[in-house]
């Protein structure tokens, strides 16, 4: 799909991939190729006098059934002989409304519909193409770029919708809006301009300086100033250097990197190219999880297009700068998100971390200076160069600049990717953007930063999201996973879940992490285990364990080799700090107030409420529920396995969990 890039903009032009034209991008974006359109109107290379149907086909969209919706849309357009393009776009980030379908009619604004599964698609398309909206079927409409496009009455604009109202989309600006598989679409929206201008007029030192002044810090969790990291590598003066993009998004609960790569892959490539030029690297790697097949496919496609357009490869845009980018698939190891482990993995070894120093910026991949940046960090770079350091630094707080993308999930009404300026409070994200806890239940806590992060209890929702404030409450930014929990989430169980994860993913190199996390997991297991068959010795161990839990956590934090081990006890430490009473209830009263720790629960049926519908008896896997139809049922305690199925299925709230 790169035909427009191979077009020669003037008769005398001889441009091809081997002999790129320096003014190619300017020509493409401003004319003469696009000269017929005034500046500010270039939002798409698509013929906008035609209608278009956009279907969000990111991984989450496809998971919700966008593939079938896409088929229906294509069939609808061809059957009705409509003059319309059907375009696949990435994910706009509104996961709970997937599959999302947008319709853009000539002369009208682009309007979005949510939850358009295949069975509803025809109805939605009919309404949209007829130009009439029925009730509340439309989700929102985009702001028109000129007055010539008429809005839809009664449909909120994107910046009025509660999910988008408080967001500031820099990294995600193109996600879900443009066709990620077309490089010309990205260029039409000003893409690769920052890179071209950097190549033409900026020395590597200047770029490092701009990025340092912008205050951009690593978005992968550490928060190290990006410009500074680049300067270290630049100043080593070695001839061979490497740049690695860390797209091994292993934190459970974070998926922003996947969304950026699926929805706007060229943004990452542009950021990567700028970074490589700034540090003087001619070879870059993108280390991406094998669990993201769609993202890998989109990235490969984008890389091929960029290469054939002369934007990656030899003598880019006639500047003399060479860059080769290789995609490396991760093989499923959480620890490979750690810099030195990632390097070991690319070198074809077991992904085990090494002590630092020497830092990778001195001695990294194959012993050469290496800079490792996360996807979101690199996706910010074109914005920094385009808008300038000052403008970028004007967003955010004193120590944390710019925006941060959070993956909001869990028990929240509106789930999805949310990009907010640094300094926004957690409460604003959860209540305002996320719409609060689903089903009107009470908010208990927010888990932020994945297995290295911590929990923030409901009373601290006023805390700002920036690198330092989060640390003050025992959490951390991490890569930006934000899982909302209601009163039916058990904090001890959550800590156990994370310890099980860490214990499984520990590489086994250093003892504190390998053995310590295992012991912590065992202690938590003991706390949540039932009394049945428990001996006096077991009970004693349970009490002892809790006493050691905190001390053990602190030793692991202080003595582990790498970041994974040092932060591994965080989920336990933070839940102990904020939810100590819940731990004590588990230990002393043998009670789980959230009703999660199955072995600590007893289930009984309230005969007043039970209507005898027999549903629970049918669903009970242990056959522990007896009773005749239309008369109250009874649970045989000796047979009950505590799975909680009866409580889940009961429509009359008759199962009492205690």
């Amino acid at each position: 799909m790169t035909e427009p890039l191979d077009e020669n903009c003037a008769d005398e032009s001889t441009r091809d991939a081997d002999r790129p034209c320096l003014d190619l991008l300017t020509g493409l974006a401003e004319g003469p190729l696009r000269g017929d359109r005034p500046a500010g109107m270039r939002v798409s290379v698509r013929d906008r006098t035609r209608a278009a149907v956009y279907v969000g086909t990111g991984t989450c969209g496809l998971g919700a059934g966008a593939g079938k919706t896409l088929d229906v849309a294509k069939k609808y357009v061809s059957e009705h002989g409509l003059e319309a393009d059907v375009v696949e776009v990435g994910c706009i980030g509104f996961c709970s409304m997937e599959p999302l379908v947008d319709v853009e009619l000539p002369g009208r604004t682009r309007v979005s519909f949510g939850c358009v599964t295949a069975d509803k698609a025809v109805e939605v398309l009919e309404a949209a193409f007829a130009g009439e909206m029925k009730g509340e079927s439309a989700l929102l409409q985009f702001r028109p770029e000129d007055d010539a496009r008429a809005g839809w009455e009664g449909v909120p604009f994107i910046d009025e919708h509660p999910f988008f109202e408080h967001q500031k989309r820099l990294v995600l600006e193109n996600c879900g809006v443009i066709d990620p598989q077309r490089i010309d679409e990205y260029i039409a929206r000003g893409g690769y301009r920052a890179f071209a201008e950097a190549l033409r007029g900026m020395a590597p030192e200047e770029i490092c300086d701009v990025v340092t002044r912008s205050g951009l810090r690593g978005r992968g969790g550490g928060g190290f100033p990006t410009g500074k990291k680049w300067s270290f590598a630049l100043e080593t003066g070695e001839a061979t250097k490497y740049l690695i993009c860390n797209a091994d998004e292993g934190d459970p609960g974070a998926f922003m990197d996947r969304a950026v790569i699926e929805g706007d892959p060229h943004r990452l490539l542009e950021g990567l190219a700028i970074a490589a030029y700034a540090i003087g690297a001619t070879k870059a790697y993108i280390y991406i999880r094998a669990e993201y097949p769609l993202a890998i496919a989109r990235l490969e496609r984008a890389l091929g297009d960029a290469r054939s357009s002369g934007l990656i490869g030899h003598d880019i845009l006639g500047s003399g700068f060479d860059l080769e980018i290789a995609i490396k698939k991760g093989a499923g190891a959480f620890v490979c998100g750690e810099e030195t482990a990632l390097i070991a993995s690319i070198e074809g070894r077991r992904g085990m971390p090494k002590p630092r120093p020497p830092y990778p910026t001195e001695k990294g991949l194959f012993g050469k200076p290496t800079v490792i940046n996360n996807v979101e960090t690199l996706a910010n770079v074109p914005v920094v160069l385009r808008d300038g350091a000052e403008r970028f630094a004007s967003i955010g707080t004193e120590t944390s600049k710019g925006t941060k993308v959070f993956a909001v999930s869990g028990k929240v009404t509106r789930t999805g990717l949310v990009e907010v300026p640094m300094g926004t409070t957690i409460g604003e994200i959860v209540e305002g953007i996320g719409g609060g806890v689903e089903n009107g239940r009470a908010l208990k806590a927010v888990q932020i930063g994945g297995p290295s992060g911590g929990c923030i209890p409901a009373e601290h929702m006023g805390i700002q999201v920036d690198y330092d404030s989060l640390k003050s409450v025992g959490a951390m930014m991490g890569s930006g996973g934000l899982v909302v929990m209601d009163d039916r989430t058990c904090m001890v169980d959550l800590a156990k879940f994370f310890m099980a994860f860490i214990q499984r993913e520990s590489c086994g190199k250093c003892i504190p992490c390998r053995e310590g996390t295992r012991r912590m997991y065992e202690i938590l297991e003991r706390i949540t285990r039932g009394r049945r068959g428990e001996t006096a010795a077991d009970a004693l161990e349970r009490f002892q364990g809790v006493i050691y839990l905190k001390r053990l956590a602190e030793s692991i934090r202080d003595t582990s080799l790498c970041g994974l081990g040092q932060t591994a006890p965080n989920p336990v430490l933070s839940t102990l700090r904020w939810f100590r009473d819940e731990y004590e209830e588990h230990v002393y009263e043998r009670k789980c107030r959230a009703g999660v720790c199955a072995e600590l629960l007893t289930f009984t049926i309230d005969p007043e409420k039970c209507r005898g519908c027999t549903l629970c008896a049918k669903k009970c896997p242990a056959g522990a529920i007896v009773g005749a139809a239309k008369s109250p049922h009874h649970i045989i305690a000796e047979k009950c396995v505590g799975c909680g199925t009866c409580a889940d299925v009961c429509r009359f709230d008759a199962v009492v969990v205690s």
Partner: protein, 165 residues
């Protein structure tokens, strides 16, 4: 595996795959991934072959392969089931989903059913947290799964297998 026509045919294709790679140590993981994609798992022969090609002892190849979660040493089932156990899925009850899958198949994670139809794997996070809890079967996503819907989903794949045969 070592004798017979199948063995030879396999050797030939393994050779072809190996030829398309260089001999540096950094080729090891991409090569193993490629080979696994081709055969569905890493057999002893394959590990030895890869080691020979790269000049790396089989013990080291095995060491690398066992470190990473992606590599399997037993053939996968015809349908590969991945149950996501990420944080968002956990909070939304993926433990019960996993139990329901284990119950329905009668195998533990990491194993394949006797009829060779299903293999079960637990993954840390599939990155579709907005749709939690998620079960992925051969790349097809099943979103917002409930313990009740598990049996139906598995049944639909059994039917598919039956109609293919």
């Amino acid at each position: 595996m070592s004798a017979g026509l199948g063995g030879r045919a396999m050797k030939a294709t393994l050779g072809e795959i190996l030829e398309s790679y260089g001999t540096g140590r950094q080729e090891l993981i991409p090569l193993l991934q490629d080979v696994q994609e081709h055969y569905g798992y890493l057999s002893r022969e394959v590990i030895a072959g890869v080691g020979e090609h790269l000049g790396v002892p089989p013990s080291k190849v095995y060491g690398v392969a066992t470190f990473y979660n992606q590599f399997r040493f037993k053939p996968a089932g015809r349908f590969h089931i991945q149950v996501c156990r990420g944080t968002a899925c956990h909070v939304r009850g993926s433990k019960k989903i996993l139990d329901a899958v284990v119950n329905a198949l009668g195998v533990e994670p990491g194993d394949t059913t006797r009829d060779g139809l299903f293999s079960l794997e637990v993954v840390s996070c599939i990155g579709a947290c907005g749709l939690a809890p998620v079960v992925v079967i051969d790349g097809e996503f099943h979103a917002k799964v409930t313990p009740d819907s598990v049996a139906g989903i598995i049944e639909s794949y059994k039917e598919r297998a039956a109609s293919d045969d």
